[in-house]
């Protein structure tokens, strides 16, 4: 339980940061809050030669509603920033709630949205709801920036589409017709527990008609996954309790959980069923209560 040796950089611009990253290639790591990275280094899972801290790089810490773009969230925004953002409260309360379900207060102050995404472990709490809301991520590299759909960005356990010399600058939740969204995290105690399953749902309702729906499952596959068959059961239909139950059952079949020290595969599947139902009900209810 001791940090291995590494070189430490504290650049002041993204450009400078990308240059240092470029020099080291895969041997360097971006350091944001360090709440994922430093434990991994202490446990001998990772031993990067260099850490490039984003601490002195200004910006990337606001949450703003930008007309034409949607809600733009800086990469260095902490989970507690998401919890306390009035922009999110007004537009996507479900994101604040997902952030609030993470870790404990100290870690929610230290961590960042980009760290949670780039770390890419299956139980991470922010990706499912962000994917359900069709979020995109913007990456800055030595020769400019590119934008990817978050759903395509996470490619495997601890694997993403980011290049070694790229830095995530922002996460954007685009303007959309979504009428309600919800995230349910199921962990094995009431705080400080990783998700055994996480389920996010976003719906576009017209009265009781489901015009569109996106269901994203966390912690039950190598990456957050869409429950597309479950979505199909609902899309274009008038919502009923039976249909919601059927969607839950479908999601339980679609997911690909493993058994580990926290839960068995069988239990995880059934929890996907239960929380898909609950997330859908909450997302739809929010819409109905407003109309």
């Amino acid at each position: 339980m001791h940090l291995p040796d590494f070189n430490y950089y504290q650049p002041e611009t993204l450009q400078e940061a990308c240059e240092i990253l470029g020099r080291y290639g895969a041997k360097a790591k971006v350091l944001a809050g360090g709440t994922d990275l430093l434990p991994k280094m202490k446990q001998d899972v990772l031993a990067p030669e260099a850490l490039v801290s984003l601490k002195m790089v200004s910006g990337m810490s606001d949450i703003e509603k930008v007309p034409g773009r949607g809600v733009v969230i800086g990469a260095k925004t902490s989970p507690n920033d998401l919890v306390n953002s009035s922009v999110l409260h007004e537009n996507f309360m479900s994101v604040s709630e997902a952030a609030h379900s993470m870790a404990n207060n100290q870690v929610r102050n230290m961590g960042t949205i980009a760290g949670n995404i780039v770390n890419a472990i299956p139980s991470a709490d922010l990706p499912p709801i962000l994917i359900a809301l069709s979020a995109t991520v913007t990456l800055v590299g030595p020769v400019g920036s590119r934008t990817l759909v978050l759903e395509d960005f996470i490619t495997g356990v601890s694997r993403t589409a980011i290049a070694p010399d790229e830095i995530m600058e922002e996460v954007v939740i685009p303007e959309q017709s979504t009428t309600g969204s919800a995230y349910f995290k199921f962990g094995l105690r009431h705080s400080g527990a990783l998700a055994v399953v996480g389920v996010a749902a976003a719906v576009t309702m017209q009265g009781s008609l489901v015009r569109d729906v996106r269901i994203v499952l966390g912690a039950v596959a190598p990456t957050p996954m869409r429950a597309k068959k479950a979505e199909e059961i609902l899309r274009g239909k008038n919502v009923t309790d039976d249909l919601i139950a059927e969607a839950g059952k479908s999601a339980a079949v679609e997911c690909k959980p493993i058994s580990d020290i926290r839960a068995s595969e069988e239990y995880r599947r059934d929890m996907v069923r239960v929380f898909t139902k609950r997330a859908l009900r909450k997302a739809i209810y929010l819409e109905q209560s407003e109309s």
């Binding site: 339980m1 105690r189 009431h190 705080s191 400080g192 990783l194 239990y267 239960v274």
Partner: protein, 770 residues
């Protein structure tokens, strides 16, 4: 006038300012000139022969000052339990669990230590290992210690009265089987020890629950007179049973310090703590009870097996405690107890809050609810019918003086609204009851000796403006320094605010066995009371001369000496104390405590004896999510009979803390291993202790009680409230959902599975009927 002026009040904790300001220094905070840092290398295999250890690369690393293995340390086996000394400072021929101690390094800094550990090359021949106690006991299982055939560490067969006859007469004889789990105490402060030599004298600063046992075993291991070993307790961040016995840190640190001639600080990190363990044993428990038609218990048979891990630790006592404590709460005459403690290739288990008692109590309390259900009797009523009464003797010959078991149950019933709730809460909600009892100090010390159990000295300062209490009693956060100062001030007729305390340093404070078995308020308290009275008597003698009065007619309270006949005639404590010093030199009071001879003469009779026993009833209300099995504990009512209360705030804090631990063990906590004996969750993330958000509303209530064997009538509280909790929750879950989970922890997934099986059975049953 109130009966007491200092005790019975929630005075502020004596160390609270130091702790909240960060001034309090724990062993890990201390630094000495030239101090080295040391760490122990442990085994990666659960069972393996050591073929060769090559330390040469590690020794060459710049900054490394010493590397030691079994060749450099005494080979004398040790252990906290003289019945089985089975540990070596470092393994000699083989390692017996993942984490067994193999070598140690001292270096200039922590970084170098970790690097050096990686450079020690140990060649192992891996042996077959066994992780389950039943498999370990089977013929042909891997032999863990050559001396203990079939891996039997200890075997107990006790038989009181005639259980067979009782069962033959019974209206109902029922057997149930339950399984516990391994848990770990998880004190917030990791263990550490700083060892240093001055000539032939060894001083060890450490995080300990008992400076005395540390001193005793360190002296024995190195062949030193006790007087040449000084053990100093610093502030301690919790122990809960896990810091009672010396660890490799003190032994290895002492050798490294002698070789290098420098102070050496050794420490465990969180992972090391889990591997060192000494936490709760996993027990497999079969209980059979015979009752008459009214539910009166006629006889009981407890048939247990416990997984001891690779070494004995306090496990022999744990094994006896497991059965011994079952006879306390209910009055029955016929009792049989069978137990085998098996060695396995897992970390050694020891004493954890409540010692061997909580898991058996869980089994017994669930089992009794099953009996009550079968007889159609309210479970609380069944307990009242069997509740032990004061001034009785248990079948295993424990003498019980004060005992308010009945009052505890009745009060718990009343304040929880039991009668309106039991069986009548909406689906998903349930209420359950369980009881418990615990010793107020063990009747006999861990090794055989006729030393008093506690002793105290009070020195009044020359001008009387302060008095210092010297006790070996060990404050590990529970607040003994505070309550003992309250007791000293009360006995002296002095004020708490003027008390100072020096405790738990074997060189400056008098002997005491330390913080375990919930002993200090009663035992150390008795010694302190005697010392305080000794001061007061000498002071009144002096005052008699100064006031020209018969000292027998004088008394002292809150620092004022007065005549009982003419209360307006007074002298300040300070003036008399000063005069005493001028005339006679230091004003010193002395006290000591030895319990009376207790218990029977059968094998194992001493374990569980105590001058006094606490009693408690707990009722909990839970809510279970039918779809997920998630458990929310909404409210717990704990009603305690713990005698006279010295400090109500600290007492209720103990109840909250004990309940917190009991609750963690009930629902969340379990040390898990992979197929090769490696711990899977040696961290606070996956070893899930409850958080603030998991805690229920707690109502901690008391019943009137006064214990003749305790000073001012005190008894224990520190461990008692852990004991009923697991059974109490299991019974509440049963009331809520009609399912019984027969193993700990009562995890969400287990409850979910039980509910699922119940639904499937009901469906299947329905089909058959058609």
């Amino acid at each position: 006038m109130e009966k007491y002026s200092v005790i019975g009040k929630s005075v502020p904790k004596i160390d609270s300012r130091a702790k909240v300001t960060g001034q309090a220094k724990y062993t890990g905070d201390l630094k000495f000139p030239n101090m080295l840092i040391g760490k122990i290398l442990t085994s990666p295999h659960a069972h393996a022969r050591i073929l060769n250890i090559d330390t040469s690369e590690a020794e060459k690393l710049p900054g490394v000052k010493a590397v030691i293995t079994h060749k450099d340390v005494p080979s004398l086996k040790y252990g906290i339990s003289p019945a089985r000394w089975d540990e070596n400072i470092f393994c000699i021929d083989k390692v017996r669990f993942v984490g067994d101690k193999v070598a140690a390094v001292a270096a200039l800094d922590e970084e170098t230590v970790y690097k050096a550990l990686k450079l020690i090359k140990v060649e192992y021949e891996v042996l077959p290992a066994v992780f389950d106690p039943i498999e370990a006991l089977a013929e042909g299982a891997p032999q863990i210690h050559d001396e203990y055939r079939r891996n039997i560490n200890t075997e107990i067969h006790q038989n009181f009265g005639n259980v067979e006859e009782a069962f033959a007469k019974a209206h109902l004889v029922r057997t149930d089987k339950f399984i516990g789990q391994r848990t770990y105490q998880c004190p917030i402060e990791p263990h550490s020890a700083i060892s240093m030599w001055e000539g032939g004298k060894l001083t060890v600063y450490c995080s300990t629950q008992s400076p005395h046992y540390f001193q005793h075993y360190i002296a024995r291991e190195f062949g030193l007179p006790m007087g040449d070993v000084r053990v100093i307790k610093t502030y301690v961040g919790g122990g809960f049973g896990g810091k009672l016995e010396p660890t490799g840190l003190e032994f290895a640190g002492a050798v490294l310090a002698r070789i290098t001639g420098r102070p050496v600080k050794m420490f465990y990190d969180r992972h090391d703590m889990f591997a060192h363990n000494r936490g709760r044993h996993r027990q497999i428990m079969e209980i059979t009870t015979g009752v008459d038609k009214d539910g009166k218990i006629l006889g009981m048979h407890a048939n247990f097996i416990m997984d001891g891990g690779a070494y004995t630790s306090l496990g022999i006592a744990s094994a006896y405690y497991a059965g011994a404590m079952l006879t306390l709460t209910y009055d029955f005459e016929n009792y049989k107890f069978d137990m085998i403690r098996a060695y396995t290739n897992l970390p050694a288990c020891g004493a954890q809050r409540g010692h061997g008692a909580p898991q058996p109590r869980y089994a017994f309390e669930c089992h009794l609810d099953n009996v009550a259900t079968q007889l159609g009797i309210d479970p609380l009523e069944l307990r009242l019918r069997n509740a032990r009464q004061p001034n009785t003797v248990t079948p295993n010959e424990f003498k019980v003086n004060s005992c308010e078991m009945t009052a505890c149950l009745e009060k718990a019933r009343e304040i929880s609204d039991w009668e309106k709730k039991k069986g009548q809460l909406p689906k998903g909600k349930g209420i359950g009851v369980a009881v418990g009892s615990f010793v107020s100090g063990a009747g006999y010390p861990i090794y055989r000796t006729d030393l008093p159990h506690s002793a105290a000295i009070i020195k009044v300062h020359p001008d009387g403006s302060a008095a210092t209490l010297y006790v070996g009693a060990t404050d590990i956060g529970q607040g003994s320094d505070t309550v003992l100062c309250q007791m000293a001030a009360e006995a002296m007729g002095y004020t708490y605010e003027n008390m100072k305390i020096i405790s738990a340093d074997t060189e400056t404070t008098p002997h005491d066995f330390g913080a375990y078995a919930s002993r200090q308020t009663l035992m150390s308290g008795a010694a302190v009371k005697q010392a305080g009275e000794d001061v007061k008597n000498q002071l009144l003698e002096m005052a008699g001369v100064m006031m020209d009065k018969n000292p027998g007619n004088l008394d002292c309270r809150e620092g004022v000496i007065f005549s009982k006949l003419e209360p307006e005639k007074t002298l300040p404590f300070t003036a008399v104390a000063r005069e005493y010093f001028v005339k006679n030199g230091p004003l010193v009071g002395r006290g000591s405590y030895t319990p009376p001879k207790l218990g029977g003469t059968f094998k194992g009779a001493p374990v569980g004896t105590s001058p006094a026993y606490s009693f408690a009833a707990q009722i909990s209300e839970v809510q279970v999510d039918e779809e997920t099995g998630e458990i929310n504990v909404n409210h717990v009512w704990d009603v305690h009979d713990c005698g006279m209360v010295i400090n109500p705030a600290l007492l209720h804090a103990q109840v909250h803390g004990a309940l917190y631990m009991g609750m963690g063990e009930s629902i969340w906590e379990e040390v898990q291993f992979d197929a090769k004996g490696k711990i899977l969750n040696p961290n606070m993330s996956d070893y899930r202790m409850p958080t603030a958000l998991d805690m229920p509303v707690i109502t901690s209530a008391l019943v009137e009680s006064c214990e003749p064997a305790g000073p001012w009538g005190v008894k224990e509280v520190g461990e008692g409230a852990t004991i009923p909790t697991m059974g109490c929750y299991a019974n509440a879950i049963y009331d809520a959902m009609g399912v019984r989970v027969n193993s700990l922890p009562l995890s969400y997934e287990k409850v979910w599975r039980a509910l699922k099986e119940k639904r499937e059975k009901e469906k299947g049953g329905g089909k058959k009927k058609k």
